[in-house]
């Protein structure tokens, strides 16, 4: 007999699942427990090169309170039902809203969307998981709080809780977002509610201002993990500076990445350039105004000759550096002089400011990202190949020119082997670089799907063989990446999992942890 569900959790009988669903309905009401194919359709679309059936959920639970979540985990423990928690569900290119494993129940916290506090003087926020950056942005504007957000490129539709918990990055001086997290409330698998740091102390008013609390620092174990369900999240906001000067620097040769990085590193470490600078390849920026089909047709990766024509037609460098200065006008004037001197030294750089490129669509969206304004223009990347296939390949590199050149060349070579293009950028951290490559392919073309999967697998294999670790990955490759960090770390993750979630009900498979 056909099941009444579109999928069932692994190892859970339909009878037990029926019983769990009845209890979920008692907790949440009928309308907040979704089980029909039509209701669950929006959760099943992914951009990964695997069948969406491998990540089809069995049900979705729309919880709105901590108390409901406590009751839900009790039911999950009773029937051994695994739940995959999402907040805004817009982890596009990393798995979207779908669970890691077929049959898991999605605990959807999007409706838990209260902004609990924004403190203008101390510049912090405390929010629930469903709050989007757009919602918080509007709140800050409406209340004239003079604070800026740091966001990933899917700004408006994503949110601070999910993005920071997955250790995403933004583009302002607060771009390494988890550095600016301060205090979480977490529902544990046994139903207890933990407030991390100073939040553990009743009547404390320092939960969102002092990160460390007392004893071992715990916040980190609730990021990229499945040890608890974060229901409140505190983080620091950047006071809007009196002046802001975004700029772009273009270079014409791929090997110039060495000079770029060697020039930027001391400026970034010393704080002259305070934000998460981006060094974007021409093919990362081109889709904003260029169409791939105007330059190349048929299978295979785009030839360098076509890339050079795109650069000429669309006024791009092969590398396009986007950075900004922040502060008073006097501070910016002093630092601008230092930046100009450093970049003009070799004669290779072309420096562009708002005066020259204010109308340029790529510059405009990059400038918005660097000052916490809403834009989804980076999604133009998805038009490059079309067909809705995308995976973020995200190895970490030292902020050292020779290393970035090696990583770029290796990535480009492996992508070319599978007929895919290098749409890459480096996001400059304090001493590291997030090398971010959008592996774009047509998900409607079975040959490209196969090629993309094999390509991604080879990228991970080859990079880890050279000691280059991946900082974040989509749900189809989490186990593979976990393996690359070795057995000791994997065992520790497992030990913590057993201690905190003995029945394995919370997001089994997240970061390869079960």
């Amino acid at each position: 007999m056909a099941s009444k569900y579109i999928a069932l959790p692994k190892g859970v009988s339909e009878k037990d699942f029926d019983a769990a669903i009845v209890k979920f309905r008692e907790i949440l009401g009928n309308d907040s427990v979704l089980t029909s194919a039509e209701q669950l359709a929006p959760y099943t679309k992914t951009m990964m090169p695997v069948s969406d059936a491998e990540h089809t959920l069995s049900a979705a639970l729309l919880a709105t309170t901590v108390e409901q979540i406590q009751k839900i985990v009790a039911v999950c423990n009773q029937y051994k039902v695994p739940i995959w928690t999402i907040s805004t569900g817009k982890n596009l290119g990393y798995g979207s809203a779908a669970p890691a494993e077929r049959g898991q129940v999605v605990l959807d916290l999007k409706r838990m969307n209260r902004i609990l506090e924004v403190d203008k003087d101390l510049a912090f926020a405390l929010v629930e998981p469903g709050v989007t950056y757009q919602q918080l942005y509007d709140y800050i504007k409406e209340h004239k709080l003079g604070l800026w957000l740091s966001m990933p490129a899917p700004t408006a539709i994503a949110g601070p809780v999910g993005n920071t918990l997955d250790r995403g990055v933004g583009y302002t001086p607060y771009g390494e977002q988890f550095l600016f997290a301060c205090g979480m409330e977490v529902v544990l698998a046994n139903g207890e509610v933990l407030r991390t740091g100073m939040g553990s102390m009743p009547n404390s008013n320092t939960w969102q201002v002092f990160k460390w609390g007392y004893g071992p620092y715990l916040d980190g174990i609730f990021t990229q993990s499945n040890y608890g369900i974060v229901t409140k999240f505190g983080f620091w906001l950047m006071p809007a500076p009196p002046a802001f000067k975004p700029f772009a620097i273009q270079y014409q040769h791929e090997e110039d990445i060495v000079e770029i990085v060697e020039t930027i590193r001391p400026l970034r470490i010393s704080g002259v350039i305070p934000n998460a600078v981006v060094i974007a390849h021409a093919l990362y920026e081109a889709p904003v105004t260029a169409k791939r089909s105007d330059y190349v047709s048929g299978p295979g990766s785009i030839p360098d000759e076509a890339v050079h024509r795109i650069m000429k037609d669309h006024k791009l460098g092969i590398w396009n550096v986007y950075a900004a200065l922040y502060g008073t006008q006097e501070q910016i004037d002093v630092n601008w002089k230092i930046v100009m001197e450093a970049f003009l030294r070799s004669g290779k750089a072309k420096i562009l400011t708002e005066e020259e490129v204010a109308e340029d669509a790529a510059f405009t969206y990059r400038a918005k990202l660097m000052c916490g304004e809403m834009t989804l223009t980076e999604f133009s990347l998805y038009n490059w190949r079309g067909g809705g296939g995308s995976m973020w390949f995200a190895p970490v590199s030292q902020a050292r020119g020779s290393e970035t050149l090696k990583q770029m060349a290796l990535t480009k070579q492996i992508l070319a082997k599978y007929g895919l293009d290098y749409s890459g950028e480096f996001i400059v951290g304090m001493r590291d670089m997030h090398h971010i490559v959008d592996v774009l392919y047509d998900k409607t073309d079975p040959e490209q799907v196969k090629a993309a999967y094999q390509c991604f697998d080879e990228l991970l294999t080859e990079f880890s063989a050279r000691g280059y670790g991946t900082y974040r990955v989509n749900t189809a490759f989490m186990d593979k990446v976990a393996e690359t960090y070795g057995p000791v770390q994997r065992n520790i993750h497992k030990t913590l999992k057993k201690a905190l979630d003995p029945n394995g009900i919370l997001a089994p498979g997240k970061s390869g942890i079960r």
Binding site: A60, E67, Q70, K110, T155, I157, V193, M374, N383
Partner: protein
């Protein structure tokens, strides 16, 4: 017997934790219904327009697209366009959004 006792104390602990959490919530946060969409125009401006008015997605306004088609695409997504769940745009708000998008230019 010992196991029963342990289970009972665990139950008590969880119940106590829940009560304690209720106390925290009431003490620190005023009840707040959370965010709700005002109308179709707001959803269009704060979700759709970032792509469909920015040369990322196709133009969808002033094409008198059928309401049922808009609702289906929003829920299922298409190619690179992500799907939007009822937890993000509830059914009632989606109906307003679909009407907003499908109506004639003069009505915007």
């Amino acid at each position: 017997m010992k196991r029963l006792k342990l289970k009972a104390s665990a139950f008590f602990f969880i119940s106590a934790a829940m009560l304690m959490n209720n106390a925290w919530s009431e003490q620190e946060y005023k009840p707040d219904a959370g965010f709700v969409w005002k109308d179709g125009a707001e959803i269009y401006a704060k979700v759709c327009a970032y792509c469909h008015e920015a040369n990322v997605g196709p133009k969808i306004l002033n094409r008198e697209l059928p309401v049922a088609y808009i609702r289906a695409i929003v829920r299922s997504g298409i190619l690179a366009m992500p799907a939007f769940r009822s937890s993000e745009i509830d059914d009632e708000s989606l109906a307003k959004l679909a009407n907003f998008i499908s109506q004639k230019a003069s009505q915007h």
